[in-house]
Symmetry: C2
Subunit: 307 residues, 2 copies
């Protein structure tokens, strides 16, 4: 260990589909240094994972080669470095730790990958990979966590274990509808964010979202909605539908832990408030690093199938 990072205890890597974020952290998950780039797993050539990782972390390892390296996210998927098979529900931090796999770095050292979680609930399967680590980082005994995103996750914790969870395709469907339907072609910028509340309201209409989505088109034609409201309206319609669906699955709770940065946190708080549920906002990066530190401190990994 050098003077430059006296408290460094491990290297945490959040390696998703489109981004790679590497952190040098202390024992409490506080960030001492970081490197981030657009080197998500989709852009890594076959066999290129060890070299790519080295570009992000070798500076830290040069100072202290004994630092453990822990990774989470799609790097552990079928299309990643090596597949870390899903842990079944219910899953505690120690279950995830016990199912970590190890891959061999370019320098011959080890890196471990935290597995995702899978379950079958009411006859339908669901999966997550990456979010389980943030949820562990909440250090929540009992409660419901909401992680907005391309594939938003709602996660129920009971006795400190991930008991059940549900994915909502909200972010991806918003992108598809706002870029590839008539709604996107109608919309003007800058957006009028008052449309969000109108979309939230519409998400409770009897005809359902396929009908409420067209209402934006009709109301613009009839000049009862400004084109600048269309995208926020669509966002409110989808987020409102997600919140309603999640509360239907998990019951009306007093509060939900929303793991999101400020913009999304505000939208989900508004949608939850409309359903009389309080939003407790948690920073995603802090949750991720705490989760990695907690899982990494618990167990010994298995060897991975690929290196």
């Amino acid at each position: 260990m050098t003077d430059a990072m006296p408290d460094a205890s491990s290297i945490a890597v959040d390696w998703g589909t489109t981004r790679l974020r590497a952190y040098l952290i202390d024992a409490e998950g506080a960030i001492l240094d970081r490197h981030e780039g657009a080197d998500g797993i989709m852009s890594v050539p076959v066999g290129g994972f060890p070299a790519m990782l080295a570009r992000y972390i070798d500076g830290w390892l040069a100072a202290d080669p004994t630092l453990p390296v822990v990774m989470a996210g799609m790097v552990g998927s079928r299309n990643g470095w090596a597949e870390a098979p899903y842990a079944p529900c219910p899953a505690a931090a120690r279950d995830l730790a016990g199912r970590m796999i190890t891959v061999v770095r370019a320098d011959g050292g080890a890196a471990t990958i935290i597995p995702g979680v899978a379950g079958v609930f009411d006859g339908a399967g669901d999966v997550m990979r990456g979010e389980e680590t943030l949820v562990v980082g909440l250090d929540l005994e009992d409660g419901l966590a909401c992680l907005p995103g391309t594939h938003a996750k709602w996660v129920l914790l009971r006795g400190g274990r991930i008991e059940r969870f549900s994915t909502f395709m909200t972010g991806e469907i918003y992108a598809a509808l706002s870029e590839h339907t008539i709604l996107g072609r109608l919309a003007t910028e800058p957006a009028d964010t008052a449309g969000f509340a109108r979309g939230l309201h519409a998400s409770r209409s009897a005809g359902g979202p396929l009908h409420a989505a067209f209402a934006a088109r009709a109301n613009v034609l009839l000049e009862t909605m400004a084109p600048a409201m269309v995208k926020p309206y669509l966002s409110g319609l989808l987020v409102g539908g997600e919140v309603a669906g999640a509360l239907a699955l998990y019951g009306d709770l007093e509060a939900v832990h929303v793991v999101a940065t400020s913009g999304q946190a505000a939208l989900y708080s508004q949608a939850l408030a409309a359903a009389n549920v309080e939003a407790i906002i948690v920073d995603p990066e802090a949750a991720l690093l705490k989760g990695m530190a907690r899982i990494a401190s618990q167990g010994k990994p298995h060897m991975g199938s690929r290196s």
Copy 2:
């Protein structure tokens, strides 16, 4: 009138966004001759409507210059030949006839355009243009009609008038999700149509469609759904959601008139059967031509604003 078309009574033109369909019909709406092409309004240059129409109908007019020409569809929209302002609900055939507009053909003769219908229901606007003519063609006193499509319409008739209607973006959202999300990338061809029933079932799940859509992705990953089922599943999920939304708006009826060709008619029949509603199948082209004949026989048009 020549021997070649002894019973011809009018020319009916269905001019939509992407297609132009011209029919030579008799007084009952039976087709004597037809010309169809990919000359929808989106592909007509500014000022090009009269010349384009001539290409489709001048042969018939040469034989009988007195044939009335009636048009329906997006040709009467803001982006069409001339805007035929929406008729308000409730609207009967005579109301539509009374609001037809007239445009001047390339040969100096007249062509009339049937207006669309607009309404505000429970605070949200809705519009249709083209479907009103098919609905009139059903000659239905009281009942509910379903017209599947890019923007599917459900239309309530009371006392022979269009009393209320609702649009569902089912077809357009299906296209956006199957072409621009991970669901499309997962799907394999040829499709396994058993996925449709599974999607219908999923459309009734508590978590709602944003969650049920992701279930296809998760179930393929977990190998509990064949990739060939993904697109039919998505179709079942959306059609099931549309039917549920429409029945929530219009009440559980014993039967619905489904105006669709065989493939879509079968899917909607299956979705309605799952909700214990009988589907009465009606051919869209026959309905369109009967509707045009009925409206055209009722009234005198106004002059249009553009020619």
